[in-house]
Amino acid sequence: MLVFIIRRSMQSVVVLLVMSLLVFVGVYAIGNPIDILINPQADQAERAQAIASLGLDKPLYAQYFTFLSGALHGDLGKSFVHATSALGLILERMPATMELAISATLIAVVLGIPLGLLAGLRPNGVAGRSIMAGSILGFSLPTFWVGLMLIMVFAVELHWLPSNGRGPTTLLFGLIPVSFMSWDGLKHLVLPATNLALFNLALLIRLTRAGTHEALLQDYVKFARAKGLANSRVIGVHVLRNILIPIVTVIGLQFGALIGFAIVTESVFAWPGMGKLLIDSINFLDRPVIVAYLLVIVFLFILINLVVDILYSALDPRVRISESKG
């Protein structure tokens, strides 16, 4: 197990290095780094000073090492617009995105698994069929448009929920600002979280249904029924437990995707998270923030994948064995 974790961590470090190289080449070598990293409003003297301080007069490999050592020290440049550390700006917005992604995951799990179970147990019933039809819609509907429609129905027509922003935040553990602790904040959270959850909800319904469908045909389920166990016990223990491993994996892997998709939801609902910051930065050509966002998100993804892989191998020994062979 330890060998597996070490090996996977080494792979992650390699991927991180490759990605940092790609980001570097993309931003510093393909585009003109002087245009990208120096404020276009700067005058000649400032430009010359910035070129020297950024080391843009040095050869490319030397620039990469400067960039890399800066990144390792947490220095990813200064935002043009906000005139503060780009990394600090992103970390400041991270709790809002995380809160949104975690809420969306919760909604998807709490609704998706029971609905999928229901559809799997009664595949030909009215409920089962409508759940599956609904899940196709969940895949087909473009996220941003559903967001608009949620605003139209629940904010504009019914006046039940606010249409944008995060509402008041309270500090969780005295550190992290969160919305869900106050009633008003919670109301702000409902629409964006539901919007973000829809795709995962559809995915979990399909996954749970397929798993249930398969598990019901297995001998151990037939045997459990033959033993005369209550239906609730057969489903709750024998079926659910066995379909949980792929579900846990997908929930984990999808968490990263949620952070990516949050870009769209945050833009629709003006939710002040990392994704909204990225879009604003692209619009204002605030490149240091874009670069910092990329590195942070790549790091987050690699971390999530690593954790999911380790959890998966802890849950299912077969993975570990085949990995160490190959």
Binding site: V15, L141, W145, L148
Partner: protein, 304 residues
């Protein structure tokens, strides 16, 4: 981009060509036929947009600011009606949607075809030659597919800048990996078949073996993936355009129309965003319905 399959009207004969069998199987599912019909309508509307639109929405002479933001069904000055309302420029939404559909479909299809060609070539050569090249290509595919498409597209737009060509580049870069992975797994199976061995024994050139012998036999799963990916490309382009990072204003796709209506949504003028969204939804759903049935029809394991 209508159905690539010939429609078999003749009743099923005892001996069918594969194309006839696929067509007959496809038509057996009423939901899929509905999807196909819808898709044909959408494609026709896009192709003949200038002929069926009540006005040319981008001819400024035909627009009147006095007509702006009218609700659906309002009478139009030329005696007709704005059946789906007008936008902030006084543009008939129905006409704008037909024109937008054109651009959305064109971008989706063009980027899918480019991605298909690149993905097919990379995946097939990787599977055929194996070794270090295969490892390298599949590593890139794995890494790329572990990131959500929207994120990769946004990163590319941020680095490359905006414009139609750049949006298509971003969509192609996002998509080629799906094809490379699918075709490689199909090719790995086909590679072990006897006909491949026979082709090698005849000392045919590698390019001939890959493209004339291997490729046609790997196509069925690719058709399914390509169909799904057209829908995905259209949705992704709409999302990028909605975020203001997609196509320029001179080429208003459905996503841009929806984005234009966003600010009026809060004041209850829903139709500027709502109807382009419905058009987008119908397009994506119809493509997905067709793809769903194609997947069943082309899957050899499910053949009767």
């Amino acid at each position: 981009m209508a159905s690539p399959l010939p429609v078999a009207n003749a009743p099923a004969r005892s001996v069918q060509t594969p194309a006839q069998r696929v067509a007959a199987d496809f038509l057996a599912n009423p939901v899929a036929v509905f999807g196909l019909g819808l898709l044909v309508l959408v494609v026709l509307a896009a192709l003949f947009a200038p002929l069926i639109s009540p006005q040319n929405p981008y001819d400024l002479a035909q627009l009147d600011v006095m007509d702006s933001r009218l609700p659906p069904g309002s009478p139009a000055p030329n005696g007709g009606h704005f059946w789906l309302g007008t936008d902030d420029q006084g543009r008939d939404m129905l006409s704008a949607i037909f024109y937008g559909l054109r651009i959305s479909l064109a971008v989706g299809v063009i980027s899918t075809v480019c991605a298909l060609v690149i993905g097919l070539t990379m995946g097939l050569t990787a599977a055929y030659f194996g070794g270090k090249f295969e490892t390298l290509v599949m590593r890139i595919v794995d890494i790329q597919l572990s990131f959500p498409a929207i994120l990769i597209a946004l990163i590319l737009i941020a680095v490359l800048g905006q414009g139609t060509g750049k949006v298509i580049t971003a969509l192609v870069t996002v998509q080629w990996a799906y094809y490379a992975r699918t075709v490689r797994s199909a090719a790995l199976v086909e590679k072990r078949r006897e006909y491949m061995e026979a082709a090698r024994c005849l000392a045919l050139s590698p390019s001939r073996i890959v493209f004339r012998h291997l490729l046609p036999n790997c196509l069925p799963p690719m058709i399914v993936v390509a169909t799904v990916q057209v829908a995905a490309a259209i949705a992704l382009e709409a999302t990028l355009s909605f975020l203001g990072l997609g196509l320029p204003i001179t080429e208003p796709s459905l996503g841009l129309l929806i984005a234009n209506g966003y600010q009026y949504l809060l004041s209850g003028k829903y139709w500027i965003s709502f109807f382009p969204g419905i058009a987008l939804l119908l397009t994506i759903v119809s493509i997905n319905l067709v793809a769903d049935q194609l997947r069943d029809v082309l899957n050899p394991r499910l053949q009767k």
